[in-house]
């Protein structure tokens, strides 16, 4: 159709291979996010058309899952485990100290866009807590020093 933007067509292409597969919508949303970094506003329309669903249904699925986000994340994403096994190893005070040193709140992205800090509920590293994952790299026995250093190293590497 004449009104369809290039971006829309790109989404159509990402989504298409998953149509007809078991759980295809979630796979398709994962694929969009893997490529773009978040789910842009056009996601509902593109996925609804491809999977023969309403936009509301697609939106319902997107909003249900913690992995799906509607805005870009920071250049570095720090995820701190907030679950019991890590709590028993000091996760609460670790989170407080990391937030203080990096001047950020859990769930927030910094104004400059260089950092997103998230809580995660269990990384399966319970035997080496408190644990974290920083830009995909697993960290056991995490300390504020190790986390801040990993953040600064990552930022330095991008410059």
């Amino acid at each position: 159709m004449g009104g369809t933007s290039n971006k829309n067509r790109a989404l159509d292409e990402i989504v298409r291979p998953y149509v007809g597969r078991t759980g295809g919508l979630i796979c398709a949303l994962r694929a969009i996010q893997a490529e773009i970094g978040f789910l842009p506003p056009e996601t509902e329309a593109a996925a609804a058309a491809a999977f023969n669903l309403t936009r509301a249904e697609v939106k319902g699925v997107i909003s249900f899952y913690a992995d799906f986000v509607r805005k870009p994340k920071g250049e570095t994403v720090i995820r701190l485990c907030a679950a019991e096994a890590c709590q028993a190893q000091g996760a609460r005070s670790l989170e407080m100290e990391v937030c203080r040193r990096l001047a950020i709140e859990p769930g927030a992205t910094s104004a400059s866009g260089d950092l997103t800090l998230e809580r995660v509920y269990c990384l399966g590293l319970c035997s080496a807590g408190p644990s974290a994952i920083i830009d995909g790299a697993l960290m056991g026995k995490a300390t504020p020093e190790k986390i801040v250093k990993a953040f600064e190293t990552g930022r330095g590497a991008r410059k």
Binding site: T22, V61, F68, Q87
Partner: protein, 522 residues
């Protein structure tokens, strides 16, 4: 060069999180053949480097990047005991000797992606046997084994198998619940990273037994390494005829697909998982109908946890009776216990049911790493009970734990030292439920939010007696009125904390380390 010594370095997530990649990199440049394995489960020794000498594996750990130069010298000279990180022959360590590893027999020893290694260590014998065994006999063996679902509910696996096998339908499915979201549990992750063919074999046997030709592994997105290793293992299994149109020459087909979740704890609940696998919101379904009769796409579906499927090859190989002879009472076979929190020796310990909590926490786990007193353990994940040391002589089996208001769950035990505030933990149980509730039923969706508010009032001493009563009423309502275990079992950590540690709910509480909301103190 041909006579390069072979060393073994884990690629398990815990080992990586503790620096195994840096250690491996240091050995890459030297004269060694490196085999990457799963983890042995002795996580206080990770990264654990092993060398094979005369059929025995000698271990060194925990090795950090600073140890690698000296370790290289020792490994080449053979003077192993001289190294400060020397721990001796792995099989001779008490931790390993005192286990009976059925599921984890190969984990940490073999290259997880070598099908040859897997077969050499006894893998695929069960699937080949199953390929020539009537489907009904397979179900009978699983029934005779007394195996119960390892995901937490403890339902007899054989009963599920028979139900799915006897159901009449044009399609049936095998679904593996690998959405291991319980804090304090990592056994599924370890076996998927360390011995993925075992899970594939178990699922394929289940497919032959119940007449299902398609299977899915629902894996949580928080396990990217397991995703990579399992994905590769599935590909290899297809290439080698373990999966596909003719499973190990049986003439029967079994296709297996990996599906990655999108970050929702509730999807570990089987009906929510099935909705999610269909690409929908992971809301729970009312039961009945049971998934065994109307599951994925409305078809009969056998849903099990990773470890339940992983127990199957041993049952088929050695017979259900042999498996049933292990354990106590109605808790048959072995359980993969997972120790974490403030404990000296955290990790995975597989043993027949029958150990006490004290055995695990004190004798095997070595007590608190911090040297502080142990005040509580939580067994069975976020929906599990908090128990005080006075109950540590309880035997870990399904019935004995149920009798004290607790459950085995997925076998995770988290140790808390004397710093823990059980009111704070009870608050967290509600907070987690509010965060992860699917929202379908009111007691869970609203109850969890109200629970946090009520506990905050108790903590502030606001209408203390009334709010204590409200808390009890709320727990009762959630147990009675929730649709699934999320809302129905969130009261377990709350009520166990309340019953076993009432002093933390008193006002004023002498150990209060926080005051909720606006009155938060450092």
């Amino acid at each position: 060069m041909n006579d390069a010594p072979t060393i073994f370095i884990p690629l398990d997530s815990v080992a990586l999180a503790l620096g195994a990649e840096e250690v491996a990199a240091a050995f890459l440049v030297a004269d060694f053949d490196i085999v990457r394995t799963g983890s042995r489960g002795m996580h206080w020794l990770e990264p654990l480097v092993e060398i094979e000498v005369g059929g025995a594996r000698i271990g060194f750990g925990p090795v950090d990047a600073g140890d690698t130069a000296s370790l290289r010298e020792v490994l080449l000279s053979g003077n192993f005991a001289a190294h400060p990180k020397y721990v001796g022959a792995i099989d001779e360590l008490d931790w390993m000797k005192n286990q009976q590893r059925l599921i984890f027999a190969r984990c940490g020893i073999v290259d997880p992606l070598s099908l040859d290694d897997y077969e050499e260590a006894g893998g695929l014998t069960a699937l080949k046997k199953a390929a020539n065994t009537p489907a009904g006999s397979l179900c009978e063996e699983v029934l005779a084994s007394g195996l119960r679902g390892r995901g937490g509910a403890g339902f007899p696996a054989g009963v599920k198998w028979k139900t799915v096998a006897e159901a009449q339908a044009d399609a049936k499915y095998i679904v593996c619940n690998a959405d291991e979201g319980d804090s304090g549990t990592f056994a599924d992750r370890m076996i998927m990273e360390g011995d993925p063919f075992l899970l594939i074999e178990g699922m394929a046997i289940a497919g032959l037994a119940v007449g299902a030709t398609r299977g899915f592994i629902y894996l949580r997105s928080e396990y990217p390494l397991a995703e990579r290793i399992l994905g590769e293992a599935v590909r290899i299994a297809y290439n080698e005829g373990v999966l596909g149109a003719d499973v190990c020459g049986s003439g029967k087909s079994f296709d297996l697909e990996l599906f990655i979740g999108a970050g929702a704890y509730i999807c570990g609940e089987e009906t929510s998982l099935l909705n999610s696998l269909e690409g929908k919101r992971g809301e729970v379904r009312a039961k009945p109908p049971l998934p065994a009769l109307e599951g994925l796409h409305g078809k009969p579906t056998l849903v099990h946890n990773v470890l339940t499927f992983c127990a199957v090859p041993d049952i088929v190989r050695a017979g259900g009776k042999a498996y049933a002879s292990l354990g106590v009472g109605k808790s048959c076979g072995t359980m993969a216990f997972q120790l974490s929190g403030d404990v000296k020796f955290p990790g995975l310990f597989e043993a027949p049911f029958g150990l006490t909590l004290r055995d695990l926490v004190e004798r095997i786990g070595g007590g608190a790493r911090s040297g502080k007193g142990i005040r509580a353990i939580q067994i069975g994940g976020p929906l599990g009970a908090y128990l005080p040391p006075s109950q540590f002589d309880t035997i870990i089996d399904y019935e004995a734990l149920l009798a004290i208001g607790a459950g085995v769950g997925h076998g995770g035990i988290v140790v808390f030292n004397e710093d823990v505030d059980l009111l704070e933990q009870a608050r967290y149980a509600f907070e987690f439920c509010a965060e992860e509730s699917c929202g379908k039923c009111t007691p869970c969706r609203i109850g969890a939010v109200r629970g946090v508010e009520v506990i905050d009032r108790i903590g502030r001493g606001e209408d203390h007696a009334e709010n204590m009563q409200t808390l009890t009423d709320l727990c009762e309502l959630m147990v009675d009125g929730s649709l699934c275990a999320m809302g129905g079992m969130t009261p377990i950590p709350v009520q166990s904390a309340l019953n076993n540690f009432p002093e933390d709910f008193a006002f004023p509480s002498i150990r209060r380390t926080f005051a909720a909301g606006a009155e938060k103190t450092p």
